[in-house]
């Protein structure tokens, strides 16, 4: 047990979301007689949720900066319909379509960011307006019709990695990506440890790191193997690949770059950040703009998966993305949260949803259960913080993020 504590860096009660995720997977694996970890199902979970998770990545940054974005579903739908129509009517190729979608996202984001950052209207209001504006714009542009997209575009939402190389019984590219990811993680951890040791930081026993890495590696390879062993023609979904790339990119941006620091600073204490030379308006603008770009991407991924853009695309997505972020350990007051946490939070919801569907639990009960899980996850986190412990998700993702010191409340009060 002590070893376990060391590996996960804390109290056994704080294993948190990753354990919730593992627990759910095991639970459903048993309840569904092995269907949960069926290759096809693992692929489905990623394919059917990556657009939500892409938005959760943008949303966690918005929430860290102390805002909220309610318009993401409508923005996604708007970008989706414009791209679908542009490709149908102007015959532009798929990659120009994607580019167009991202530009639309940037313009929409600039519009919302302008009101939030430079005029100072709360994001809740701006994006509530945006929710109406862009839903209407979607239905106006599309005349409330469903507009199909052609096959080349469908890849980003419904496509898979191709089969290359020798026939191994697995999808070779998928396995390769899994191995590369593991190698990168191990290499990174080793280098990081060396650096930490060089500056004299406490690095803990090596065995702990290796076991931790071993577990992560096994998890990654297991997922890769599963995806690679699905029905011929399926493999790592392109949408999951996009998601993975974005997680790495935004994980890096949020923890390792100046702009990432500034997002946390503005959310943690805007005035202090400004007086430390952070241009908070620019940060707010960029965060809102980035959210809309990612929402557009998510919208296009959904259109690709659905083969068509419809007038009700994206309804309710904002709530899924926001739920993922809060399950992932972000704070309503801003300043706290991690990209990886948000994605894990989203996966918890996705696995839950999938498992309940496999069990044939009705949509009504599914919603009730999801609501309770959201409440329980956040309540557990709040309880842990009030007990002076670290936020569970902050703890679990500390290797990826930088928020490991949030047990502040009681000690602050203690001072006179």
């Amino acid at each position: 047990m002590n070893k376990l504590k060391e590996i996960f860096g804390g109290d056994t009660r704080q294993f948190g979301m990753i354990f919730a995720l593992v627990f759910l997977i095991v639970l459903f694996q048993v309840l569904t007689d092995g269907l949960t970890l069926d290759p096809g199902n693992v692929i489905n979970i990623f394919q059917g949720n990556s657009y939500i998770l892409v938005m959760a990545i943008g949303m966690v940054l918005v929430i860290i900066a102390g805002h909220i974005d309610l318009s993401v579903g409508s923005v996604a739908a708007f970008a989706g319909i414009v791209v679908a129509i542009a490709m149908r009517d102007w015959g532009i190729p798929w990659f120009v379509g994607i580019l167009l979608g991202l530009v639309i996202g940037a313009l929409v984001g600039a519009w919302q960011g302008f009101w939030v950052a430079f005029i100072g209207i709360p994001a809740f209001i701006v994006t509530l307006a945006g929710m109406l504006i862009f839903r209407g714009a979607n239905q106006w542009v599309g005349k409330s019709n469903t507009v199909p997209v052609d096959e080349s575009f469908q890849t980003i939402g419904a496509g898979y990695l191709p089969e290359v190389g020798p026939k191994t019984g697995y999808n070779n590219l998928t396995i390769l990506i899994g191995l590369l990811l593991c190698a990168a993680l191990i290499g990174g951890a080793v280098r990081n440890r060396r650096n930490q040791a060089r500056i004299g930081a406490d690095v803990g026993p090596a065995s702990v790191m290796w076991i931790r890495l071993g577990l992560i590696t096994v998890a990654i390879l297991a997922v890769a193997m599963l995806m690679a062993s699905g029905r011929r023609g399926t493999s790592l979904p392109i949408s999951a690949l996009i998601l993975g790339a974005l997680v790495l990119l935004y994980g890096f941006i949020s923890t390792r770059t100046i702009i990432g620091r500034h997002v946390y600073a503005v959310g943690g204490n805007r005035h202090a950040a400004e007086l430390s030379g952070v241009r908070s308006k620019r940060v707010n603008f960029l965060v809102m703009m980035n959210m809309s770009i990612l929402a557009s991407l998510a919208g296009m991924m959904f259109v690709a998966r659905s083969n068509a853009s419809g007038p009700f695309d994206g309804v309710g997505w904002e709530l899924d993305a926001i739920a993922a972020v809060f399950i992932g350990g972000a704070a309503v007051t801003g300043g706290v949260g991690t990209v990886v946490g948000a994605v894990i939070g989203g996966l918890v919801m996705a696995v839950l949803n999938n498992g309940l569907q496999l069990l044939g639990v009705g949509a009504d009960m599914t919603q009730i259960i999801k609501g309770l899980v959201l409440l329980a996850a956040v309540a557990f986190d709040v309880y842990n913080k009030s007990q002076g412990r670290r936020s569970i998700t902050g703890l679990l993702t500390q290797n990826f993020g930088r928020r490991a010191t949030q047990d502040t409340t009681e000690t602050v009060k203690q001072e006179s």
Binding site: T257, A273, A404, T405, E410, Q414
Partner: protein
Amino acid sequence: MVDAAPILEMTAITKTFPGVKALDNVTLTVRRGDVHAICGENGAGKSTLMKVLSGVHPHGTYDGTIRFNGADVTFNNIRDSEHAGIVIIHQELALIPELSIAENIFLGNEETKNGVIDWVRTNNRARELLARVGLVEDPETPIKNIGVGKQQLVEIAKALAKDVQLLILDEPTAALNEDDSRHLLDLIRGLQGKGITSIMISHKLNEIEAIADAITIIRDGQTVETLDVREGAVDEDRIIRGMVGRSLESRFPDHTPEIGEVMFEVKDWTVAHPQVPDRLVAKQSSFFVRRGEIVGFAGLMGSGRTELMRSIFGHSYGTWLGGEMTLNGKKVDLRNVPAAIDAGIGYLTEDRKSLGLNLLDDIKTTTVSAKLKKIAHNFVIDRRAEHSAADDYRKALRTKTPNVDYGVAKLSGGNQQKVVLAKWLFTDPDLLILDEPTRGIDVGAKFEIYGIIQRLANEGKGVIVVSSELPELLGLSDRIYTISEGRITGVLDKGHADQESLMRLMTKTSTTPTPKDAA
């Protein structure tokens, strides 16, 4: 007035937070009718003790007994303790800005008739209570329209409305200017005459010396001693010795200034209030700082001293209307904070928690936060450089912390201030503006910060110190400017300045002063 039986006896109080023993076997006895001061460094446990007493930490979460008016009491919340006649007034006032004085006084304690608020009675009683605390204001005035000093009096009126027997004041004068502080202390004395016992927590030792009948000193969660003033005078040095466990020979370290040429100069600086464009918060202010010089700025609250400094620091306050700035012989136009930082100006804010720190951050991220460029390559932060920079400053400033990954919220006020100082030192400033650098900091840390300030000056930097505490300015500065109503009213050299001469210049006005309208 003097009753043999003590009004309050707290015996063997022990309170533990996860991982910390905040109070360890503390005993406090307060005589009826006394003003009883509690002294101790930040984090010593003073506030925790008062929270135990007032039921914020409910009965059962601590060990020990409380006897009040001769009977054992168990409070489960603030309502219980208020019911018994114990009222606590926190440092951060608990008033609702949008509600009127009368509404605030009776908040949670409304004057009702059949469940409906009786406004006539509410306002009449409020008027009586305001008279008792010596505040001349219409009870229907919204709280936001009166100054901090008057708000403090409203808090006391609120306590009186609850038939208070034991009044606890946590740092009551921390946010008040000299006049208001004096008035407040007089009032506490007056209440004493009417049979109300007070417990006062304060860092201002001169106030304690002036008003307390008894002083209990707490250090590291334990009672050090209780000094009875009636048995013999207690001076500041005696209290300090108790608080820090050693005596401080000189509160201001020795310092021989080596003053060089003028390195920073401001001419005719004029700034308007951000919301009220025709109200000037700085009026054609001109001053200069020489290399190696510590320049003090003295002014009452609302005199415009903070506003002037923030405006100089990249126009971060108000609307700039005119004026020139010369830094190191070159005219500069610094219109935003990043430009000011790049030019070599640092500004340590007056309000540490709301303007100076992100309490979610740890020490290392705070230390580097004002100049991330310095440890980044192509916008990517070098975490090794970050860690070692933070560690260097931790050692240099002797910040008390296990490591630099520690959250700033967990540090004491003095150590937090050192981290903020480190943040500004990390930017390599030529000119460092320190606004109330020792506010809310205990004596030991104050001494260390004075030392740091002098070291900076010795390194040839220009230092501006803004402070409400005149002894601090007199002890530290080589030259002192005075500000009143947004205008610089004078400048005195170290040798020529004393409290009286400064006060005269600080109150020199063209009209009647209205001191408490700080933004």
